[in-house]
Symmetry: C2
Subunit: 212 residues, 2 copies
């Protein structure tokens, strides 16, 4: 068993890897892939640069691991919502609120996705893990839209991926562009009232779109 000694080294590969990933997530998300410094990550870690290369091979390997872990975290949160018992409109509003809150609570993730887009999603393409995600959300939305249309609450037959994009766009933009937007319009998007208003806005917009 690996116990923490006072000064003597104890091997704990799992903890070491997690520690590196945690620090790396922060570093990559605030500086970008090129701007992040391996030495800076190593320093903030309780281990050394040697271990980064031991476990992740290269700076890009570490970046990819960070990206994969971030996506994996979302998948687990998304699945247990049980929206099929709810009325279509209620289900949709719940899903939207969840997406909204997730993005608001995970600016690191949002920033990583922005960074990945700057790199044309090149790393994402190389990772099978990431590509296979998010499919479940589309199925969920598709189900809600179909039920809503059949019941006559939604008058419009919309494409689920389009609806997902509409929701994502708003929720994501609020976080990804909060600095430039906040600077230009002198408005703090992290403000409590603003958050509440926006959460309602996007839901109302999507629902009214489907009903029109």
């Amino acid at each position: 068993m690996a116990e923490r000694g006072e000064n003597g080294r104890k091997n704990d590969p799992q903890q070491t890897k997690e520690d590196i990933l945690l620090v790396a997530t922060e570093e990559f998300s605030t500086h970008g892939l090129a701007g992040a410094r391996v030495d800076a990550i190593a320093e903030k870690t309780r281990t050394s640069k040697r271990m980064i290369y031991y476990y992740f091979g290269s700076k890009e390997g570490l970046y990819l691991a960070v990206l994969e872990q971030s996506y994996r975290k979302i998948r687990s949160l998304e699945s247990d919502l049980h929206l099929s018992n709810l009325e279509p409109e209620e289900a949709l509003r719940t899903l939207i609120s969840t997406t909204f809150d997730h993005d608001e609570a995970n600016p690191d993730f949002v920033r990583l996705v922005s960074i990945e887009n700057i790199h044309h999603a090149a790393h994402m393409l190389r990772s099978e893990a990431i590509r296979d995600l998010n499919v479940s959300v589309i199925e969920t939305i598709a189900g809600i839209l179909e039920r809503g249309f059949d019941q006559g609450v939604f008058r419009r037959k919309a494409d689920p991926i389009d609806i997902h994009m509409m929701i994502s766009a708003f929720c994501f933009f609020r976080v990804s562009n909060r600095y430039t937007f906040g600077t230009i319009f002198r408005r703090n998007l992290s403000d409590g009232d603003t958050i509440e208003r926006h959460r309602g806005m996007i839901a109302d917009a999507v629902v009214s779109y489907l009903k029109s």
Copy 2:
């Protein structure tokens, strides 16, 4: 007068600066601030690295100049739309289409804004030029919303900045996140049909939101 010789050097400061800016825009937008290489920019230019520092002082100075120029370009395009003669709904739809088409046509600009957000809009803050922009759009939207409400076409009293954000979010996201989104959902957002559908979608969504 500075004539272009066959091989002999001719001084043309204006052209030199523009040349550098053009190349730098491309480089920064595809690699980010840290990822961009001054040497790479210099090579693609018809001049040398020396001139980059001669005219822009530093890598960051060049980046800021690129950013400022990009914003300046938009301002000029935005102003001459003459929306006050149109009916509120028509005016709003025209404005939305313009924003949509602008973002679609200027991925470099979109990417630069994304990059600037990764840097917490730090450079933008230092530039008075940029901060004072975009205010006119808000006034335009405010006017449309007011007229629409008075005429009874819009039932909802919405905040013009919120509406601007809603529009921007959708138009911007389509371009900024086209790579990750396209990879995950195997959908090409630059596809002609998709573009047409999305242009209509965002307009319908905003209008139906205001009417509900």
